[in-house]
């Protein structure tokens, strides 16, 4: 019963580096989401996908990219990391938008 799995759990990046946050789900869900969580700001939607091959921007997409080549995987790419991208990132999936299942999060620090 893996559910939604995010890797890595922690990462420190230097300014200007790039990295990919991995997210995979084994529930055959169509919907997948990426959020960032900052203290006092709640969760902000970065990108979401309603099925393989379909992605769309959320509230705060700048500085990020996603792809959805399979139902299971929804990686989030950070290009040219900036200190403003220091955050906790959560991936989630949903069968139809009626309930989201969350991963345990990735804590990213950009220095």
């Amino acid at each position: 019963n893996a559910g939604v799995t995010q890797t890595p759990k922690f990462r420190i990046l230097k300014i200007g580096q790039s990295m990919t946050l991995q997210c995979t789900q084994d529930m055959n869900h169509n919907y997948m989401y990426w959020y960032r969580q900052d203290p006092g700001m709640g969760l902000k939607l970065i990108y979401y996908s309603v099925g393989a091959g379909i992605t769309d921007k959320g509230e705060v997409p700048n500085g990020y990219n996603v792809s959805r080549s399979t139902t299971e995987d929804f990686p989030l790419r950070l290009e040219l990391a900036a200190p403003s991208q220091t955050s906790v990132y959560f991936c989630a999936s949903s069968p139809d938008g009626s309930e989201a299942f969350f991963g345990q999060g990735t804590r990213l620090t950009v220095v």
């Binding site: 006092g40 939607l45 979401y48 009626s98 989201a100």
Partner: protein
């Protein structure tokens, strides 16, 4: 575009007292509404949801929320809280269109602290 406002960032209450966490949303279409709970250093877990039907929805641990369309609200209540209810609570909304639910948007969160 839909949005969610949680009116209180922190709510301290004494154990066994009642509590209400307020949530207002804006949307131009039909909505799904949710409350999620986050315990320290964990991901979010669904507490309860409104999709359709009865406007009063309940969780297994005593929380309830009522969908009020005219006031665009979905406040969360519990008649008697326990220490174990200490957590951060998030209200969320998803627009529903004919092709299905759209993006899921969260409020800023309310930190509920239960004092003995």
């Amino acid at each position: 575009a839909q949005s969610v406002t949680q009116l209180d960032s922190q709510v301290p209450v004494f154990e066994e007292a009642p509590v209400e966490l307020r949530c207002n949303y804006s949307s131009s279409v039909s909505v799904y509404l949710f409350w999620y709970v986050q315990y320290p250093n964990q991901g979010l877990q669904l507490l309860l949801k409104y999709l359709s039907g009865s406007t009063l929805v309940k969780s297994i641990n005593g929380f309830e929320a009522e969908f009020n369309k005219s006031q665009t609200s979905f406040h969360l209540r519990k008649p008697s809280v326990h220490i174990s209810d200490t957590a951060e609570y998030f209200c969320a909304v998803s627009d529903w269109k004919f092709q299905g639910a759209q993006k899921l948007v969260f409020g800023q969160g309310t930190r509920l602290t239960i004092n003995p």
